[in-house]
Amino acid sequence: MESLYHIYKRRGYTRRDFLTSAIAISTALGLPSSLLPKVVKALEVKPKPVVIWLEFQDCAGCTESFIRSTSILPTDVLLDYLSLEYHETLMSPSGFYAEESKREAMEKYRGKYVLVVEGSVSPKDKGVYCTVAGKSNVDLLREAVEGAGLIVAVGSCASWGGIPHAYPNPTGALSVSEVLKGKQVVNIPGCPPIGDVMVSVIANYVITGKAPELDSMGRPKTFYGQTIHDRCYRRPFYNAGRFANSLDDEGAKKGYCLYKLGCKGPITRNACATIRWNGGLSFPIQSGHPCFGCSEPDFWDRGMLYTPLSVVSGRFGIREALVGVAVGTAVGVGVAYMNKKSRGGK
């Protein structure tokens, strides 16, 4: 089977283009430059990765992001490079043929393929809320996990449960790792996650044969080791106490910090501020909108998209304070009265 280098050559790219991609991949993965010759070698000779991509309770947004990851590999190379044996949105066969090709791939590449899961899993009521080809999503997942060399949960839905898991979670949506307790799952959260991150994790598997270094919540440390706030170019304004008060006031026009408008950058771990989107063009904060924190668990339920992080979630205003004062006053006066009585006073 072809390697990445062969694909570049076949598509008319130069060796320089190939080397640029190899450097981009190893930089993205945070590999030391001394390992670069090894990375180049691996991408030159190792066969392209086989990927089986399952979609459960999802919106295919993660797929959309994936195929637009253009800063590391050009799209035409990417789609050639990955041997996408099964992907409901992208594959041309359907019905029986699609299922058959998946079964064949799972047998042929047993122990070697990368299993990518997009969307949350719904085991509730025997998995009836999400079925493909008459099988429940949980059964499909377990069957595909058996022979997988690497399991990757892409997007906040697969990593944490995401939007289907949001209150009141009618389908009992769970994350992939909750369903596959005890198995290593690489979580690439985000709604959607950055395409280049997904590609890099798969490339890392080709190069090293294993998952990248993960944090305690299963996220690759290189991409999720820092918060947006750590790397935000508006940070000097935060430090100086200069904030935009609305999305289009003078402060916003001057590029001030968006904390007051509800920016979740300080508690959000993702690579948006460094890798950015659309080939490194921009990211939400750069285009003037506060960070939603889409890569953190339960971001949707946090329900405070435009309220500053430090404000009590679930509201505590003057009314609640007055209720407290009224209760305290009533009890205080009551106790004072009883004390007075017991002392025989009037």
């Binding site: 668990p297 205003g317 609640e320 004072a336």
Partner: protein
């Protein structure tokens, strides 16, 4: 528990609970004392009690600020106490994250401090708190007046300032979320603790000083 889940808990239900206990506690203690009342005093006041009470509240904080008082006898108390209160109150109300919380509670917008000023205040408050605590432990008179309450309160406040500093200045990456949550967690404990400890002096100080002024006014003496 993930750090974000812990964060959501401390800034959600736990903070709400702490604030509620705080308001109940402060009102409870205040009215319990007020309504206990004083034995009736039928003597005619010789001066003006309300005026003297007000005078005492306003003038008292400046009374110690004489050269003699500060530099010959109680330098640590006055300078340390001043720096600590300035720092602590400045941080509590005017650090941007805190100012937004107060705005939410009171509806009034609070001005915000740039980081550099908050840093200076934080170091000033922390340094003076440590100095005051050591002074307390070593000074023969203060030692007698000090109980576990003071040491606990000082430790709690020092930890709050320290974790705040750690979170905003030194922590990067994931540890920021743990530290800021810890900062909030400890602050919640303090909010609950204030009404039931000597920290409630931020309310009762004015009550007791006012009472002393009132008495002085009644007797027609000066202070």
């Amino acid at each position: 528990m993930s750090d974000v889940a812990f964060y959501d808990f401390v800034r959600g239900p736990f903070l709400k609970f702490a604030l509620f206990v705080f308001f109940v506690g402060i009102a409870y203690r205040f009215f319990r004392v007020i309504f206990l009342g004083m034995p009736p005093d039928y003597a005619k006041p010789k001066g003006s009690p309300p005026f003297m009470a007000l005078k005492k509240i306003i003038i008292k904080p400046t009374m110690g600020w004489t050269f003699n008082e500060i530099f010959s006898r109680r330098a640590i108390n006055f300078i340390g106490g001043f720096l600590f209160h300035l720092g602590f109150l400045g941080l509590t109300f005017f650090v941007p994250a805190h100012a937004l919380l107060w705005k939410e509670i009171t509806g009034i917008p609070f001005p915000t401090l740039p980081n550099i000023v908050s840093d200076v205040l934080a170091y000033a408050a922390l340094g003076s708190l440590i100095a005051l605590t050591i002074h307390r432990a070593l000074n023969p008179v203060l030692k007698l007046l000090t109980g576990k309450d003071e040491y606990f309160a000082n430790l709690l406040i020092a930890l709050i300032i320290f974790t705040g500093l750690l979170a905003t200045r030194w922590a990067g990456g994931g540890s920021y979320i743990w530290l800021v949550s810890l900062h909030l967690f400890l602050a919640n404990l303090l909010i609950i603790y204030i009404p039931f400890s000597r920290l409630s002096h931020f309310v009762y100080y004015f009550l007791s000083v006012g009472f002393m002024g009132w008495n002085a006014g009644k007797r027609g003496v000066s202070f």
